[in-house]
């Protein structure tokens, strides 16, 4: 079983990102369990969402304390909260930022830090506003490439099925962010 946690701010789509990823993984014959942090959500306030994925039915019905992967939709959360809390040593943390992974040396010392400028991608595709882009679909495209956990095509299928507004723009954003991530990985491996 693999366990994920997604950090965002209310309105950025963290809960929807968890659901989309669940649907994408379900299309690849996995059992999935997607849930928000149980509580009250407010626009702009920190929001977390969770995902379990396994080849067998999932028995655990409790909070995720030690995730394998973390996705951060808003880079200001890295300073404001302990986004890596409980992350397994060597686990991946994917951050939406225009800056490189070397910006986070303390996280890099313990985890695999990956970054993508999902905000710019989302803005280019007219998702949300330029100051408050909705980045969840873009970052899932990047996550598919960075994690290898789920196929980009499954992510795009989930977006087409589940996103009620601008599904085409959201799919295009996921594909562009996936390309950016693949290019960044190529550079990193040279």
């Amino acid at each position: 079983m693999r366990e994920l946690r997604i950090h965002g701010r209310g309105g950025q789509g963290a809960v929807v990102a968890s659901k989309l990823l669940a649907v994408a993984l379900f299309h690849e014959d996995n059992w999935v369990q997607s849930f928000p942090a149980f509580g009250v959500e407010r626009r702009g306030a920190p929001v977390t969402a969770f995902l379990r994925v396994d080849r067998a039915p999932i028995r655990l019905r409790c909070e995720i304390m030690a995730p394998d992967d973390i996705i951060v939709l808003d880079p200001t959360l890295v300073e404001a909260t302990d986004v890596a809390a409980g992350l397994k040593p060597g686990g991946m943390i994917l951050i939406n930022t225009a800056r490189g992974p070397e910006t986070y040396p303390e996280l890099q010392a313990r985890y695999q830090v990956v970054t993508v400028d999902a905000s710019s991608v989302a803005a280019r595709h007219g998702l949300g506003s330029r100051t408050q882009p909705i980045v969840n679909t873009a970052i899932l495209g990047a996550f598919a490439v960075a994690s290898g956990l789920v196929g980009l095509e499954s992510v795009c299928q989930a977006i087409r099925e589940e996103v009620p507004t601008k599904p085409e723009a959201n799919e295009a954003a996921a594909r562009e962010a996936a390309l950016l991530m693949a290019a960044a990985e190529e550079v990193a491996h040279v």
Binding site: V23, W31, F38, R59, R61, C62
Partner: protein, 409 residues
């Protein structure tokens, strides 16, 4: 068709597939998504039902009773304080033998104001005459919703299906949504024996004097008895058509067990995980899941638990001054078991107000049960702040609400 949906929407799908004719509800967290999606289904024409907006849960149940008296298939959903507000009419719905189906999303009662899961809201309605069915997965929620209508209409009793707040209501997982034609064959249109009908007038709910009231109550009790066997028949047919069944009571790895957990709701899933791990290490532990709370499946539980040395009941609920409610009911059910086969019952209270129940919480229950030859009191609390994990411990003395984060003394 398999879809990844939250538990609240599993209810909505079940209500839609059941071709429910009247829905009346008042929103309350964490139930709101149920009727939100149903109102959308009514608006889009996917569901040909009358959606009656009302000003309170009390009125919602009144509207369902009126609809049911007119022969319609009626549904509502609520949680916590909303269910408490309905209390008066819950007695009425059952006494008047209206086969209404209601979903209760288990939520604690305030104060302290809390929107998280706990079973006390539904269990506090145990004497109202409603059948109560608790669910463990979103698939079970959808299946139980449809089966509830069939059971209710067969025995003329209202049915409350119960699911945990958030752990099911807001958790998305794969659910197989059955084909409409197959559900139609399982659940035909309701045929009310008596209904409000100008062509064939009857008087309903007149004054009932001592000369006949007691017979009405006896008939209600007999209907509950009938519901116990009718539930098994309904599940049998559901299994034939859809390949799934749950059981009023399910025994999991109990055959050679010397210690058995008794669970209900989503705690069951996490407990299965713990049982599997301990079985793999050679430990003789098992689990009994109670799905049906009313009518209480006394005989089935006696058969499942007789001869097992120690039984640990996990109660995410509290009857203040008594303890966990499932433990209390189970002790009464096991009293007639011969002494040599009668289990020692350990009643654990845990997870109140949505406090997380994790595998290590259940490990604590098992270890404390193994460590004490007998419980030293009826209510054994697990997971209190400041709990030191000592065997057979309890404890108000060990903690203080003043130490809760964010609470000023």
């Amino acid at each position: 068709m398999k879809k990844v949906i939250v538990g609240n929407h599993a209810v909505s799908w079940g209500v839609q597939l059941a071709r429910t004719e009247v829905i009346s509800a008042y929103p309350i967290t964490p139930q709101t998504q149920v009727v939100e999606q149903l109102s959308e289904m009514c608006a889009s024409g996917e569901l040909n039902a009358r959606f009656i907006k009302v000003e309170s849960e009390h009125s919602a149940m009144a509207a369902c009773m009126g609809a049911s008296a007119a022969g319609a298939r009626a549904f509502t959903a609520t949680s916590s304080q909303g269910l408490a507000l309905m209390h008066e009419l819950l007695h009425w719905a059952a006494g008047a033998r209206h086969p209404i189906v209601m979903a209760d999303i288990n939520r604690s009662l305030g104060p302290g104001w809390n929107i998280w899961t706990e079973q006390t809201d539904s269990l506090a309605q145990r004497d109202t005459g409603w059948v109560q069915l608790y669910c463990e997965t979103n698939q079970e929620v959808l299946d139980t919703t449809i089966m509830s209508f069939r059971l209710a209409e067969q025995v003329n009793l209202p049915v409350m299906l119960v699911l945990d707040a958030f752990y099911l209501s807001h958790t998305a997982e794969p659910v197989d949504i059955p084909d409409r034609e197959l559900v139609d064959a399982f659940l035909p249109k309701r045929q009310a024996r008596l209904k409000l009908d100008t062509a064939e007038p009857h008087s309903f709910n007149a004054l009932v004097p001592p000369a006949s009231y007691m017979e009405m109550r006896h008939a209600l009790q007999e209907a509950m008895r009938e519901a116990r066997t009718a539930f098994d028949e309904v599940e049998e047919e559901w299994e034939q058509r859809f390949g799934r069944r749950y059981g009023a009571v399910e025994a999991y790895h109990t055959d050679d067990a010397d210690l058995v957990l008794v669970t209900s709701g989503t705690v069951t899933s996490t407990a299965r995980h713990v049982i599997d791990q301990r079985r793999a290490a050679g430990e003789r532990v098992g689990l009994v899941k109670i799905k049906m709370f009313r009518p209480f499946p006394t005989e089935t539980l006696r058969a499942a638990l007789a001869g097992i040395a120690r039984v640990a009941v996990l109660d995410r609920n509290l009857s203040p001054g008594r303890g966990g409610i499932f433990a209390e009911e189970l002790r009464a059910a096991l009293y007639d078991v011969p002494a040599e086969d009668r289990p020692q019952v350990y009643g654990y209270v845990l997870g109140l107000g949505g406090r997380d129940i994790r595998p290590d919480t259940i490990d604590t229950v098992i270890e404390r049960t193994r460590a004490a030859a007998a419980p030293d009191r009826e209510d054994l609390w697990v997971g209190l702040l400041g709990d030191d994990g000592a065997p057979a411990t309890t404890g108000r003395a060990q903690t203080s609400a003043d130490s809760l984060p964010g609470v000023e003394a």
